[in-house]
C-alpha cells in the first residue's frame, strides 16, 4: 500500500498530521518550573505579574552594562492575534563581564519593575551567530549534494531509490584536473 504515489502521499499526510498534533501539544502547557520549564521572555511579555517571585530563564541582547540591561524579543499569540516586541529588563548580580550587543542568557528570580536577580548567566558573543549560520548552510549543501549523488526519484512510484552507480562529481573533477595537468 505504501508503494505508489497515492499510498505514499496518504501515509505522509497522516504522519504530518501526527507531527502537527505533537507540536500543538508542546505549545499548549504553561511554563512549569517543577519539570525545569522556566518562564521565558514570551511568557513574561504575556503575563509578567504572574511570574514575579519565581525563577525564570530568559535570553536577550545586552543594551546596557551598568546596570546590565537586556532586550528580550518576544512573540506570542493571544485571542487569535500575534504580539511581538521587546521587553527591557534590568539584570542584577551578573557575574560575567558583558558587552553591549552580545547575547545573554539569564536564570534568576523575577522581581517587580522589570528586574531579574541572576543566579547564573551565560554570555554569547554576538559575532558567533553569523559563523553558525554560515557553517550550517555549508552542512546543508554538503548533505544535499550527497543525497543527489547517491539517490534518485523513481518517477513511477515516487520512491527515493539508491543509484546503482552513484554520481561522483568530485572524483570526476579530480580526474579531469589530473588529465589537464598531466
Amino acid at each position: 500500500m505504501l508503494h505508489s504515489w497515492v499510498g505514499r502521499g496518504a501515509a505522509i499526510c497522516v504522519l504530518l498530521a501526527v507531527l502537527f498534533a505533537l507540536m500543538v501539544g508542546l505549545g499548549a502547557p504553561a511554563p512549569d518550573p517543577a519539570v525545569g520549564d522556566y518562564p521565558n521572555g514570551d511568557a513574561l511579555a504575556q503575563d509578567y505579574d504572574r511570574y514575579v517571585g519565581e525563577y525564570v530563564q530568559v535570553t536577550g541582547t545586552v543594551v546596557g552594562t551598568d546596570p546590565v540591561e537586556t532586550d528580550l524579543g518576544y512573540a506570542y499569540a493571544a485571542d487569535g492575534e500575534r504580539h511581538t516586541g521587546t521587553l527591557t529588563v534590568t539584570v542584577r548580580n551578573v557575574d560575567a563581564t558583558v558587552v553591549e550587543g552580545q547575547s545573554l542568557q539569564v536564570y534568576g528570580t523575577l522581581g517587580p519593575d522589570r528586574t531579574i536577580t541572576a543566579e547564573n548567566s551565560v554570555g554569547v558573543p554576538a559575532t558567533n551567530y553569523t559563523a553558525m549560520y554560515l557553517v550550517s548552510a555549508l552542512a546543508g549543501l554538503w548533505t544535499l549534494g550527497r543525497v543527489v549523488c547517491g539517490w534518485r526519484l523513481d518517477p513511477r512510484t515516487g520512491a527515493l531509490r539508491r543509484r546503482e552507480e552513484p554520481l561522483t562529481p568530485a572524483r570526476t573533477l579530480l580526474v579531469r584536473a589530473r588529465e589537464v595537468l598531466a
Binding site: L2, L22, G27, A77, N120, N128, A139, G140, A159
Partner: protein
C-alpha cells in the same frame, strides 16, 4: 547542538564507523544517517515563520520545537522511511533514527543558565533533564573538533 555542521559530522562519523561492521553500509547510506541529523533542526522553520504566527493563524497552541523532541523526530523519521523504496525501508529507518537521536542527544548537553536542558523526551514527559553544559550553541571550535574526528574516521574506514 550547535551548528548543523557539527551534527552532520557526528552522524557521518557514527555511520562511517558502523560501515566497518556492516558491508551494506555504503556512502549512500551514510548520507541517510546525515539526513537524519537534520531532522530536529527542521524546528528552525521558526526563523521564517515563528510559532506565534502559526498559533494566531490557526487559533491553536503551537510550538515548532515539537519536531526537536523524541516523539516529533520519530514521526519525521517515519516520513523519511515511507519516502524510500520498499527494499531500503529498514535500513533507512535505522540510519535516520541514529542521525536524529545523535542530534537530540548532542543538544541535550548544551549549556543552559538554569542547568536544565529542554523537553527532549516529549511526549513521554515534559521533564527538562539536567545538562552538563558542555558547549554553547555558537561555539565554533565544536565544528573543528567534530570535523577532525570525522576526517579521521573517514581515513580509517577508507573511501567508500
Amino acid at each position: 547542538m550547535p551548528d548543523l555542521l557539527s551534527h552532520a559530522f557526528i552522524a557521518f562519523t557514527a555511520c562511517t564507523l558502523l560501515s566497518l561492521r556492516y558491508d551494506w553500509l555504503t556512502g549512500e547510506y551514510v548520507t541517510v544517517g546525515m539526513a537524519g541529523a537534520f531532522i530536529p533542526d527542521m524546528a528552525k522553520i521558526k526563523l521564517l515563520v515563528d510559532s506565534a504566527t502559526v498559533e494566531a493563524a490557526l487559533g491553536v497552541p503551537f510550538d515548532w520545537l515539537g519536531v526537536h523532541t523524541l516523539g516529533g523526530a520519530f514521526v519525521a523519521v517515519l516520513v523519511g522511511t515511507v519516502v524510500v523504496g520498499r527494499s531500503d525501508r529498514r535500513r533507512a529507518f535505522g540510519l535516520l533514527s541514529l542521525g536524529a537521536a545523535s542530534h537530540l542527544f548532542a543538544d541535550a548537553l548544551l549549556l543552559k543558565a538554569s542547568g536544565q536542558s529542554y523537553e527532549v523526551l516529549w511526549p513521554l514527559t515534559r521533564y527538562h533533564p539536567p545538562t552538563p553544559g558542555l558547549y554553547l550553541s555558537t561555539d565554533v571550535w565544536l565544528a573543528g573538533v567534530t570535523g577532525a574526528i570525522a576526517v579521521a574516521a573517514w581515513l580509517f574506514a577508507g573511501d567508500r
